[in-house]
């Protein structure tokens, strides 16, 4: 793509940090890397609207790890709080009470808020064309409460409420397609991102910052604690999610979908599944070829529909 960007390589990553080191997040948290990179692009005039999630640990009284301003909102009302902030500033500016400071408002939630309890509020905000950013770091379960099932939980994976046993092989449902649900609202910009592709991530936030209206991101939030992996494996797992095709990197500008990275030769999903304890029952005590095949077929079918 020949669009203008200041992010050509990793070396172009802005040096300014808006996340302090030493937060109480788990070691190897994929979500932290995502937020760190996103804030580097968005810059200091940003208000982070946070809701209950693991990343709420970035704001634990009396310490706040986020260096920009923040507001903590109810679980299901992050986008509504963002709407109040954006509208309040706009109303005061239009009455000449303040000069519009050009503030960006970023709603930061996990998949529980984005896919489940806050979907209604998000739908409302997108449909109203609210000028805001929504970043969902999707660790595919309610991580902060002990890793329970959400509608982002992938098929056949373990969570603490989709147990594995003689009568069950984990989650029986397929992950909700939030990208398409959001896209159906016709937002000007919606994208998926991953921590292992930082340049792609920064370019997408850069592109979004030139657009007015809802700018929506779903990030793979690799979660060593919940997924059952070593903290040092985060980026390797993240890469495998992308290279197996399980986490497609794409964007939709005014509804038109484009994949920003197409794995040339997709690795078998097994390589990704094997890295995590939440899929252990697919391999032990007996190999569940039926389930592995079902996951592989789903991924293959997805990429067959990708025309580029």
């Amino acid at each position: 793509m020949s669009e203008e960007t200041v992010f050509k390589t990793m070396k172009d990553t802005p040096r300014q940090e808006y996340l302090s080191p030493g937060s109480p997040l788990c070691a190897g948290c994929g979500g932290e890397i995502i937020v760190k990179l996103a804030l580097k692009v968005l810059g200091p005039r940003t208000i982070v609207v946070s809701v209950p999630s693991c990343l709420a640990l970035l704001e634990l009284y009396p310490y706040v790890s986020i260096k920009t301003s923040m507001l903590f909102a109810p679980f299901g009302a992050g986008p509504a709080a963002a709407q109040g902030l954006v509208d309040g500033i706009e109303a005061l500016a239009s009455k000449g009470v303040i000069q519009n400071p050009g503030t960006k408002v970023l709603v930061l939630t996990g998949d529980g808020a984005a896919y489940d309890i806050g979907l209604q509020a998000t739908s409302g905000a997108i449909q109203r064309g609210l000028d805001f950013y929504y970043l969902c770091y999707d660790n595919e379960a309610y991580g902060n409460t002990g890793f329970q099932y959400s509608s982002a939980t992938p098929f056949a994976s373990w969570t603490s409420t989709t147990s594995v046993g003689l009568e069950s092989s984990g989650n029986t449902f397929w992950k909700k397609d939030l990208f398409e649900i959001w896209r159906a609202h016709n937002p000007p910009y919606v994208a998926t991102v991953a921590a292992s592709r930082p340049v792609d991530l920064m370019r997408k936030f850069e592109k979004a910052s030139r657009i007015r209206g809802p700018k929506l991101f779903i990030a793979l939030g690799v979660c060593p604690t919940g997924w059952g992996a070593d903290a040092k494996e985060t980026i390797r797992i993240d890469k495998l999610a992308v290279e197996t095709g399980m986490w497609p990197l794409k964007e939709a500008i005014n509804g038109e979908v484009r994949h920003t990275y197409i794995p040339r030769k997709r690795k078998p999903v097994e390589e990704y599944l094997k890295t995590q304890k939440r899929y252990e029952h697919l391999f032990k005590p007996v190999r569940r070829d039926d389930l592995i095949r079902a996951i592989q077929e789903r991924v293959d079918r997805y990429w067959e529909s990708v025309s580029e």
């Binding site: 200091p44 005039r45 940003t46 208000i47 709420a56 640990l57 704001e59 634990l60 009284y61 009396p62 706040v64 986020i66 260096k67 920009t68 301003s69 923040m70 507001l71 903590f72 909102a73 109810p74 299901g76 009302a77 986008p79 509504a80 709080a81 963002a82 709407q83 109040g84 902030l85 509208d87 309040g88 500033i89 706009e90 109303a91 005061l92 239009s94 009455k95 009470v97 303040i98 400071p101 503030t103 960006k104 408002v105 209604q120 509020a121 739908s123 409302g124 449909q127 109203r128």
Partner: protein, 417 residues
């Protein structure tokens, strides 16, 4: 000007020059936001008007807007207020001085459209200041007073102004609309001491998570202190209000209480009925008066005690029923009087007017007679007495009979006036 309660509320928002209106429809409130939408489209109201997809979002957004320094207005009722319950605690914790007009309506199930205070009573512990209006004029006055008190830097809390659904929301009454310039001098532009604007040179963290009890307790206590302070700030505000607009307000209103033997405690629009019943009862030889609660939160404990400690018996009349308990305000009145000296011999609880059920002279007289008996004999009903008219009870019996359901005897708690 003849105005309904709803259009009065809209006028108050317009006169207060609100910057932001967050809207979601519900009967019997909708007329408020419809009126504001119309004025906004005509340029008569210089506010950003936004339709939301739920009350939960609407109140969250109104609270967030007021953190930026905008004067925010919203309105709801009944199911909507309860749907937004989490947001109520949130915006109070944010210390966001927004205005919420609640048009009281019973909370389902079963569904009903008419007045009952179960909705607004459920919000009594959320941290909102609560002012309950008897008349359309009070709706206007309380909205202006509520903004002034809530926005005061010693308070910084949201306010609910309550009016009764149908009885007040759709009833036309004469309302004095003040001059805009007078309102401006009473209620200058809101200046938030720490507006959340996302400026580059400042980091504001609003409502980060607490991990331990001590700091949580500290912040909760701050809200409590602010709510208590609201009463004193209200006192100052009503003085200025009277100077400018010529109308007097207080946290309570006493009516014929000076030499009263028996007092009926009341709130909201049904107080007009109680007041006229008290007047008639006086003519019939009863030494009775009324105490009306105008401010419910903070609860005007000292004022209630001072006003009622000399009477012999108190009837607390309420339009809400907490199952397994009774009236929500009854224990608050009892607590206010417990340490008073002297104090009434009897404080009794009466529930009526639920779902817009009518009350009148006969109900007031009944409450007074029960109080008299309690004073003289020490015999008083246990628990709350539910007021129900004989003809209403007969209609219910007829309906049950028609449905083939055997009519059970209701407990003696229901009194058939």
């Amino acid at each position: 000007m003849m105005l309904t309660g709803n259009s009065t509320a809209a006028w108050a928002a317009r006169l207060a020059d609100v910057d932001y209106v967050a809207a979601y429809p519900i009967t019997p409130q909708s007329e408020i936001v419809e009126t504001l939408a119309k004025w906004s489209s005509e340029g008569k109201l210089r506010a950003k008007f936004v339709n939301f997809e739920s009350e939960h979002s609407m109140i969250t957004a109104a609270g967030a807007a007021s953190l930026t320094g905008a004067r925010a207005f919203t309105a709801t009722s009944s199911q909507g207020l309860l749907y937004a319950m989490e947001a109520l605690y949130t915006v109070a914790g944010w210390r966001a001085p927004m205005m919420l007009v609640n048009v009281s309506r019973g909370v389902g199930m079963p569904m009903i459209l008419q007045v009952e205070h179960g909705d607004v009573m459920a919000a009594r512990d959320s941290g909102f200041i609560q002012l309950h209006a008897e008349t359309c004029q009070e709706v206007l006055d309380f909205i202006l007073l509520g903004y002034r008190v809530g926005e005061d830097s010693r308070v910084l809390l949201p306010t609910i102004v309550n009016m009764d659904g149908f009885v007040l929301s759709f009833a036309r009454e004469p309302v004095e609309l003040p001059d805009k310039s007078d309102v401006e001098s009473f209620l200058p532009r809101f200046k938030h001491p720490k507006p959340l604007l996302g400026l580059e040179d400042e980091t504001l963290a609003y409502a980060p998570t607490m991990t331990e009890g001590a700091s949580y307790t500290y912040f909760k206590y701050q809200i409590h202190l602010a709510a208590q302070e609201a009463k004193h700030v209200f006192r100052g505000a009503v003085e200025r209000f009277e100077e400018i607009f010529g109308r007097h307000h207080d946290v309570i209103e006493g009516y014929m209480l000076d030499d009263a033997e028996i007092a009926i405690v009341s709130s909201n629009s049904y107080s007009s009925i109680i007041r006229s019943a008290v007047k008639a009862l006086r003519r019939n030889g009863y030494r009775v008066g009324m105490l009306r609660l105008k401010m419910i939160r903070p609860f005007p404990r000292e004022e209630v005690a001072e006003a009622l400690k000399h009477v012999g018996a108190v009837a607390v009349f309420e339009q809400n029923l907490a199952p397994g308990r009774g009236g929500a305000l009854y224990p608050e009145v009892v607590e206010a009087l417990y340490h008073a000296s002297p104090r009434p011999d009897a404080i009794l609880s009466f529930i009526g007017g639920l779902g817009g059920s009518p009350i009148g002279y006969s109900e007031a007289e009944y409450m007074v007679r029960v109080c008299e008996k309690a004073m003289k004999t020490g015999i008083a009903p246990q628990g709350p007495t539910i007021l129900c008219r004989r003809e209403d009870w007969q209609r219910i019996r007829a309906a049950l009979k028609m449905a083939g359901i055997p009519v059970e005897q209701l407990s003696e708690a229901i009194h058939h006036v």
